[in-house]
Symmetry: D2
Subunit: 372 residues, 4 copies
């Protein structure tokens, strides 16, 4: 109930504070027999690792994962996987000057209101560093999704005012995304985005942006028709990320301006006899259930709350107005590092719903077969 | 796991198909001692009732609620409330011509893929009629929220291309919302919206739109810092509604275009010594936890999938392309009737998180007190 | 969290008070495509119905079930089944004399302590009448278990001091159990039990007893190895029944007096090459997981708290000692009617764990196949 | 769903295999502000530690706990506590001779049937070593219960045929329990039990027994009236322990032999005006809800499955009958070390239900107050 667990059958519980001894997760519900290696997990952790690019924070963490349980002879046991990452480069003294005030648009004030006790070092539990556990778990989910032929790719489609609308969700590859540090596969847009981020950093400011994520190869039938629509699960997953303020599925807000005669996706039959839609404003989901077309969603991230310009706020006790300038190490733009995090959340949602779909009907061939 | 339950402490399970004998819900976890009357529930049901306005469907349902359990001597018992509404005006023969094909952008195809067995009458479980149970439960939640001084109001802020940006979330009243059938409190915008809907109906078409919802009086401290951020719960709640394709919290997608120095909400102290923010781009939520400012969210609804113009699709078995025109009774625009439904979901999320917050800390004065 | 839901994948929420308008349940998570008829449910309800035998209460309820949702064309839809039974013969005035005192060993006092508001008519929610919803849901579970070849049979194995140790769990049939009103399949023991019950009633007293329940045909592999051991789920299911105070799995308390060299069940191979145990002190469960042998459990029920002899207790407010004699209609012995209720709980536990086992391993032939 | 989590508000997920790198747990839902130290946890771990007494296994583990998260400045943060214990003295080669066969009454066979992949070293996840995580979590629960004045004490009340019926649940102390290695507070019985265990070990055999556990100071009102009766939760908690085969609450199986006129616990008013019962056959629970009297339960444990006498079983593949004698290090009797484990489970159940009770009613003084 304290909300540190994601999923129903594929359950992920993350733990850890930004400047505590360690972070990580327990994955409970991963089926037995999945071929898995620590390197599978390390790969995704490396993509979100701080200190890896010139665009991000200077905090340096190797983020080496240790698999403490659930794995034996190279395959999962069906028992909980505990995945651990030690903190190494936490510099808590940078936060001492700010511990007595509420940093604007951070969780300092709300955490105090809620718990009356707060780890002021690096944002504590509310730091984006918590996503280490999500990405580790997401890598396990991704490995399991691959067994069923599902592929998940995200990319930055806007930074500040720079939009990129040229990426084709049907064909974009992971390699194309990682080609540029900003993780936008369009060369021209990527350059403009990088310029925006570098300029923001130079101005001691931060900037927001958006990410699109596609899942290809998702079988039809995932998602539950009422409260656990696939879109509801995806929306919650994205809005559970630090700084996320918006979500769209398929046509999103654009669809709200349209007429039904324009918006509806006509069904057709492809050459192999499979039912498809001739366009995909549904974003691969109809009635909350996947229809076999690519799932396409979009998430909006506000600018990082820690910029280094003067700000006004109030002190903790007594509540007195005060001016301050933030210290510490922060990304000027969360978007590039958020790409693997968004992918992790998409993977966690899909694998959970894929497992849930296995009990949909009485007379069910194992669905979907890992060998199809 | 089949996803018909919402909430963790205040749990609502809805049941019922569009053309089955009845719909309703079981509310489990409503604290004992709440003063409640069937009329409290009827009031909200009447606001979503079909056949109530000239803008909506012609299906006529009285939607009279029966309280089957959980209530005794005018107060809740702490035991499950079963709230029942009988279907009265289902005309299933209107759906016979369409039972052998997949209506575009409906749940027919995905339901067949998932379950292999489908109630084709009126959309079955995927009909928006399912929200009867949600609104009934939401009315109980609203009653309980009132004990704590929380007020929830939604309104239509766009229909098709018509936007309304004049409504002040701080002051708008329920009476203002219900003044016009389209449930937009701005007279000029309301007139333009109604014109748009009437025109769409005349064209045998449908049209989408957006709804904004505000919650005032929410105490600081609701929401959990990781997967169950208040925004995550709200996003899931909205995306679980039929036809919803987008969600924004506070600045939403606009915030993604901004700089941190512009976006951050400065803290200040008001006259009574209470910590406030001088603007509210956070939408009342920071780090996933309410900060005491009004919670403001926005939801996008695509146009109703059933329009009455010719469409192409495929038949159920074998999959053959076919042209058809829909029959049955449908709203040309879901927005006006979606207003009480959006409010219901906001109420369900808030009451669940308010109850959850009661175990946040060891040394906790009853929080928030119903008598403050 | 208010504890009115049983199960994780096959979820049953019961509702209703003893003297309220209706009782029933919502079954969420029954897979689609199960052939089901109201008569399947009525059959089990008729076996627990009050007023059916000379050994039980004189309250007369027809307990006719109405299926309000989830069923279409004779098969389940995969959507929630709402099963409703109206109360018909509640005589609340019989409880008026007792509303101002706490009946000993009833839930009156604890309910007041917990909720501060109580339905004093017929025990309210704490009445064994609540099990109507369980039996209705259990009948659905039983139908689904039959698809997988699982059979569940319970019988009374003791009443007061009368024990019956002659019943063979491997071969006893449902018809044998129902041959005698007391639901003990041994003719001599049954006669002694009936005599004990009739004598207790004549003395205005009540008497306790025990029930054994066997499940045959359960595939190996059901149950989870840690907190959700199959025995843990069965123990919780039994102890959740009114008046149940004890539980044994396999050798139970007898096993605690033994040596390992005596208690261990040797494995062997039967003629068809299947691994079996040559005896069954494990009760079909090892390490919390079914091993393919019959599951055998036993539940102890204290005597019904309402007898009609003088008792001492205290009044509600102020707390003053008082003597009283109970009124109302009650069973002198709950055991015969508890047989279908125990079976229902066994069915609910098994089907939930059978569904859960379907996601145990990555490379899993549909397990167990409904066609094997 | 894979069953490695206990509780609903105070949620404990354990992880780890007997011979893997580490074991431990994540506690999610511990309220913020609890004064806690690693030493509080170490104390209970030391009581269950292997190698501590002459009566137990020779495996030597220091079982030093590391608190990886959730604790700051000596108080809990309200975020997940990850508690880690490294394995140090695992000797896996002792299990090599047995990896190709199914040890009788162990989980080898059922694990293979369920997962198709098994860690054969030391029983893997099914080893009682898993309870390290439970005891660590239970220590946190115990600390929190102390804030509310609740005290939990268990002791061995039988080993094999040796019974101890002299212990008074109202007055027995923890120091008395730990006075003898066998953890029975009666000197004469303790001596007889130790003799039984030593004799069993000498015979290369093992022996079972029972444990009684009492909770004193539990406020009235804990437990939910239907599926989550306090007794149901306690029964599940005990039956989730390795080797547990039976459970009694209050009068247990004895109560099933009695008449209502004998069994009912009369209510009375004590000198302070508090409602009590004059005897406690209810075991402190009525209608599934605590009544303020001491909660008394009893659990039966079968003899340890690994004895060192010859046994018959079958090999893994192909299934062939075989004789073998077990190797490895095992307790001849699990009872003494099970005492802190049983206490841990009692603590986990009580704290979960205590937190759940905080949302029972609308107009609820903080219940129970930590300062009363």
């Amino acid at each position: 109930m304290a909300g540190n667990t994601h999923g129903t059958l594929f359950r992920v519980t993350t733990f850890g504070e930004s400047h505590g001894p360690a972070l990580g997760c327990v994955v409970d519900g991963c089926p037995a027999g999945l071929v898995l290696d620590a390197a599978d997990i390390q790969r995704d952790l490396d993509r979100r690792r701080p200190g890896a690019t010139a665009l991000g924070t200077t905090r340096k963490e190797s983020d080496q994962v240790e698999v403490l349980s659930g794995l034996f002879d190279g395959r999962t046991l069906g028992t909980p996987l505990c995945l651990l990452v030690r903190n190494q480069d936490a510099v808590s003294r940078q936060y001492v000057p700010m511990r007595g005030l509420y940093r604007p648009s951070h969780a300092d004030f709300t955490t105090d209101m809620k718990y009356g006790h707060r780890d002021w070092r690096g944002g504590g539990r509310s730091s984006a560093r918590e996503t280490v556990g999500r990405v580790a778990a997401g890598a396990v989910a991704r490995k399991l999704l691959q067994v069923y032929g599902v592929e998940v790719i995200a990319w930055v489609d806007s930074v500040g005012q720079v939009d990129c609308t040229t990426v084709d969700p049907l064909s974009v590859t992971a390699a194309e995304v990682d080609r540029f540090e900003v993780r936008c596969p369009d060369e021209i847009a990527a350059a403009a985005m990088e310029k925006t981020i570098v300029a923001a950093r130079k101005e001691r400011d931060t900037v927001g942006g958006t990410i699109t994520c596609v899942a290809r190869g998702v079988p039809a039938g995932l998602g539950q028709p009422v409260f656990d629509k696939l879109e509801a699960a995806l929306a919650a997953a994205m809005l559970s990320l630090p700084a996320c303020k918006g979500f769209e599925s398929g046509s999103g807000f654009r669809g709200a301006t349209q007429y039904g005669s324009v918006h509806n996706d006509p069904f057709a039959v492809d050459k192999r006899g499979k039912v498809i839609t001739t366009k995909n404003d549904s974003g691969g989901i109809q009635g909350g259930i996947s229809n076999g077309m690519p799932i396409v969603i979009r998430a909006a991230f506000k600018p990082v709350a820690t910029h280094f310009l003067p700000q006004t706020t109030v002190t903790v006790a007594p509540h007195t107005p005060v001016e301050f300038q933030a210290t510490g190490r922060h990304d000027p733009c969360v978007l590039p590092r958020a790409v693997p995090i968004v992918e992790a959340m998409m993977c966690l949602v899909l694998i959970d719903h894929l497992l849930r779909s296995m009990v949909d009907k009485v007379d069910q061939p194992r669905y979907p077969s890992p060998h199809d």
